[in-house]
């Protein structure tokens, strides 16, 4: 995935999810709330649109999902990073860094 790829924005959501799950597992609602807090609602407009992304990432093998009990004793689905997901996170973090650096260079010099 190279800088400037139109998938970038879409990839951003995925990168955020990977980053959030790095420390441990979370359920979908919590992930959504956290992303909205962190980005001021810039990435997720419709809250529901998070779920197709979660499913895709799960199917790519980046996430593992299992049903568990939430803090209020409700059944909820919890997501955590797989080993593939961890590698993906490292890779994307590196790419993001170089992308951001490139953009920063252009904007900084302009």
């Amino acid at each position: 995935m190279s800088p400037g790829n139109p998938e970038r924005l879409h990839g951003t959501l995925e990168l955020l999810v990977l980053k959030l799950l790095e420390p441990g597992s979370m359920n979908g609602y919590a992930i959504g709330v956290r992303i909205q807090e962190l980005t001021d609602g810039a990435v997720i407009v419709e809250e529901g649109s998070l779920y197709p992304a979660l499913y895709r990432m799960q199917r790519r093998g980046w996430l593992k999902a299992e049903w568990g009990k939430s803090e209020n004793n409700r059944r909820a689905k919890y997501y955590r990073l797989s080993r593939v997901g961890k590698r993906q996170l490292d890779k994307e973090t590196a790419e993001w860094g170089s992308f951001a650096a490139a953009v920063g260079k252009i904007l900084g010099s302009g």
């Binding site: 709330v33 407009v45 529901g48 779920y51 499913y55 895709r56 689905k77």
Partner: protein, 885 residues
């Protein structure tokens, strides 16, 4: 069983996935509502707000489901597993949209069905080899006449034996003729039968033997040998009860006794489908009618390793020798040969190939239509494609998936097509002109099924490949990001416009062809036949020579004349009969021709002698069939056997030979007798409306008696009503005589146009189907365009465009598409309709009025097809339209 279990498992799995998704999404909304309530919002308001924030629940749910389902199918690997997945996915996609699937299947069913039906006819009639051993070596041998410009002349006996002796190309040869025959076997009623007198070699050439007894051999075929015959399977069953004891029995035909020596298998129908008995021809080089009489048709079997060219070369050389040796009879006569199958079906081939081409165009239009539908859908399905692509489905895999879907659709279309074809074939066989050879061969069988399957699969690939390529190259990301809105891509709509122009062009070609055939048929119908065909009954009678002496040279026709006089008198006395007359040939029977001499003119060179059609007729003939007398008189009571010899000529004859003098009072001679011309009558189209009238004359039947003749009865009401009464009169006079070929003069004459009518009806039908398909195509594109542009139209209306402006604008688009299609189609017609020229009558293949009519009709259809969506567009509420974005 395993399949069922698999299906059950898949269903359960699907339900589990769905439940998982539902509870996860529900959990999210609930949690959000709880959090909102915690901020002090009322419970109901919190739920509403949570749902709003969540977004389009149904779409998200479907999207999640899609991701999981596609994934569920990725478990297998290998081509077969993938194919299985593609297939299941295709079936699901089709089931999800039954309206679309039904449209496609119906469209394809029509196209494939019509093609299958026509192919079954082409296959049965043209393609399938004849059911004879070494059928590729069996040829038909004919003569031609340079002087008269005719190509299909029969052989004379002496010519046949000369070729038999001199040729170096044929393994063997056989001659045959089809005599009139009435079977009066020891018991039962007299029965009119179809007989063939043939050389004994016929059976060995065709390689067919009897199922019972034997066929006749060289001994039976010698002049003067005992009379024997072979029965067809059909008459053996129907008349002789399939009795094996029939061998050795005597049956009477035309008063002669024949011994039955064999029975042929049911499949043996040479020379025609209805042939019921075969008997030896019994001619030899020494004993055959003279060289001027062309009574025989000839088939032969080529020697191994001899081809048609060599045979034709040999025949040409022999014919040239015979021309020199027998200039009186053979001047101008050539000989030639062709494959038997070609000789049998040659006249029908252009029409059948034209129909096959036309029906192929219909299928092409159906394909274009379906391709256009798929295009429209592939824009809608961009999201699905994008998801599948994002999940790692490669471009090839996507194309395969789309093609699988098209082929499944087209195979379903093919199945529907088979139903259409089953009905179609039945209709074709019923509708087919009686003269269509080998019609019994036509049916749906393995070959036809194979054709239908190939046509279906090919069709699926054909209409599926473009939309598949288009869909697979689609941008995989943007549809996902744009939150579900799928803007019209001008590219897709452009291709659809192109497709519509194509199908309109194809339809215009078909409509032009149909228009030309309709014109031809209309002109054929409008030809004045020269007689009044309405309300005339035709029935045929043949008096057997054994009881009614009538041989050439005999002067004793007493019995024949007595019978004829009594019959006319009796039929004339029946109720509703206006007039009755006998004739050797009724007015729609081409009959035969004979040479003649006009008395007092210098003799003409041999080979340049002309022939004219001859028709001995009874006294009231001209009045009964409505032929106008233009000069002199018709026949009267005075024209009896021993009265002065008289003749009436037709106008063509008069124009040709008496252009500068009054023919009445002149004399002409034929058959050794000189006759005075007493009258001239109008020309009759006795060879059919499409043919030039040839010169001809009529002589009184009392002076040239014939035992075989037609009874013509003009009635006050429906002529067929009186047929049983006429039959009764014949039987009253002679209980052993059958009446055959009962019909009306109208039916007889319309027989000439059966083939053109068949062509016209079918091509007209195809053109109609093509127009409907094209209209659906136009409607689809315009209507889709209106949907996509609702916003734009709203803007136009809010900026002051009136409903009328919008209507004109949208209809204009449809008509513009049609106009482009028509222009291309008419240009194509100029090239393609040339293939029709042999099927046309009275119109050239380039016929401006037809072209103009086609342009108008197609434009009108295009107008109608765009009007509905245009109405919808003009009714757009600008506020709703603008808000919809």
């Amino acid at each position: 069983m395993i399949k069922k279990l698999f299906g059950l498992w898949a269903t359960i799995r699907r339900q589990n996935i769905q439940q998982d998704i539902d509870s996860e999404l529900a959990y999210h909304v609930e949690m959000r509502a709880r959090d909102l309530e915690a901020t002090g919002m009322g419970a109901a308001a919190a739920r509403r707000e949570a749902a709003r924030r969540f977004g389009n629940h149904g779409r998200i749910r479907a999207e999640c489901r899609e991701v999981m389902m596609v994934d569920a199918e990725r478990q297998g690997d290998g081509i077969m597993a993938q194919f299985g997945q593609d297939l299941r996915y295709a079936v699901r996609t089709i089931l999800r949209n039954p309206g679309f699937a039904a449209t496609v299947i119906l469209t394809l069913g029509l196209g494939i069905g019509a093609n299958t039906a026509i192919f079954s006819v082409v296959d049965g009639v043209l393609l399938r080899p004849l059911p004879y051993a070494d059928s590729d070596r069996i040829v038909y041998v004919a003569q031609n006449d340079r002087l008269r410009g005719t190509q299909h002349e029969w052989f004379s006996g002496p010519d046949f034996f000369d070729v038999l002796e001199r040729n170096v190309v044929f393994e063997s040869m056989a001659a045959w003729r089809t005599p009139q025959a009435t079977l009066t076997s020891p018991d039962g009623e007299p029965q009119r039968i179809t007989a063939a007198s043939t050389s004994h070699t016929l059976f060995s050439i065709l390689g067919v033997g009897p199922v019972l007894g034997r066929v006749y051999d060289a001994d039976d075929d010698r002049p003067g040998a005992d009379a024997v015959l072979v029965l067809s399977h059909q008459i053996w069953v129907s008349r002789f009860g399939a009795d094996e004891g029939v061998l050795g029995r005597l049956v009477a035909i035309e008063g002669t006794s024949y011994e039955v020596v064999g029975v042929m298998p049911p499949s043996f129908t040479f020379p025609s489908a209805g042939t019921q008995v075969w008997m030896p021809l019994q001619i030899s080089a020494a004993r055959t009618p003279p060289r001027g009489n062309h009574f025989y048709r000839v088939i032969a079997k080529l020697d191994v390793n001899v081809n048609l060219d060599a045979a034709n070369g040999n025949l040409t050389a022999i014919a040239a020798d015979l021309e020199e040796e027998y200039a009186d009879d053979n001047l101008g006569r050539g000989m030639w040969t062709q494959e038997l199958l070609g000789a049998m079906v040659g006249s029908i081939r252009p029409a059948l190939l034209m129909l096959l081409g036309a029906v192929g165009l219909v299928l092409a239009i159906a394909c274009v239509n379906v391709a256009s539908l798929l295009f429209a859908r592939s824009t809608v399905r961009q999201r699905e494609v994008a998801i599948r692509g994002a999940l790692g489905a490669g471009r090839n895999r996507l194309i395969r998936q789309f093609l699988t879907e098209s082929v499944v659709l087209s195979l379903l279309g093919g199945a529907a097509g088979l139903l259409v074809a089953l009905g179609g074939v039945r209709g074709l066989v019923a509708l087919g002109p009686a003269a269509l050879p080998r019609l019994a061969n036509v049916g749906i069988d393995g070959r036809v099924l194979l054709f239908a399957m190939l046509a279906s699969a090919g069709t699926g690939v054909l209409f599926g490949i473009l939309p598949a390529l288009q869909a697979a190259k689609a941008d995989l990301q943007s549809p996902l990001k744009e939150g579900g809105r799928t803007p019209a891509r001008s590219g897709g709509q452009g291709v659809r416009r192109f497709l519509v122009v194509t199908e309109v062009a194809l339809a215009a070609v078909l409509v032009t062809g149909a228009g030309l055939l309709i014109q031809s048929f209309w002109r054929l119908q409008a030809v004045d036949p020269g007689f009044a065909a309405g309300n005339v009954l035709v029935a045929n009678v043949q008096l057997p020579a054994s009881r009614y002496p009538q041989a050439f040279g005999s002067t004793d026709f007493t019995q024949v004349l007595a019978f004829q006089r009594e019959l006319v008198q009796r039929v004339g006395g029946l109720p509703n009969v206006e007039s009755v007359a006998l004739a050797v040939h009724h007015p729609a029977n081409p009959g035969w021709t004979s040479r003649f001499i006009i008395d007092g003119r210098p003799p003409v060179a041999p080979g340049e002698q002309e022939e004219a059609r001859i028709n001995p007729v009874g006294r009231d003939y001209f009045r009964t069939v409505g032929i106008q007398l233009t000069r002199g008189r018709g026949f009267t009571e005075a024209d009896v056997t021993d009265g002065p010899r008289v003749v009436v000529i037709n106008e063509t004859f008069a124009r040709r030979h008496f252009s500068d003098q009054d023919p009445v009072g002149q004399r002409l001679s034929f058959w050794g007798q000189s006759r005075e011309i007493v009258g001239v009558v109008a020309d009759v189209k006795f060879r059919g409306p499409a043919q030039e009238t040839r010169q001809g004359w009529y002589a009184p039947m009392e002076q040239i008696p014939f035992g075989a003749f037609s009874v013509l009865v003009r009635t006050a009401g429906e002529p067929l009503d009186i047929a049983p009464l006429v039959q009764q009169q014949v039987i009253t006079i002679d209980p052993d005589l059958p009446v055959f070929g009962v019909s009306t003069l109208e039916q007889q004459f319309s027989g000439f146009v059966a083939q053109p009518r068949f062509n016209m009806l079918l091509l007209g039908l195809f053109a109609g189907v093509a127009m409907v398909l094209a209209a659906v195509g136009i409607y689809g594109v315009i209507s889709y365009g209106v949907n996509q542009r609702t916003h734009e139209i709203g803007v136009r209306i809010s900026l002051g465009a009136s409903a009328g402006d919008v209507l004109r604008h949208v209809v204009g688009q449809g008509v513009a598409l049609a106009a482009a299609g028509v222009a291309i189609g008419l240009a194509g017609s100029l090239l393609l309709t040339r293939a029709l020229s042999s099927l046309l009558f009275g119109v050239g293949s380039v016929h401006l009025p037809t072209f103009i009519a086609v342009a108008l009709i197609v434009s009108l259809v295009a107008f109608a097809a765009s009007y509905l969506p245009a109405r919808r567009a003009s009714n757009v509420d600008p506020m709703v339209a603008l808000r919809s974005e």
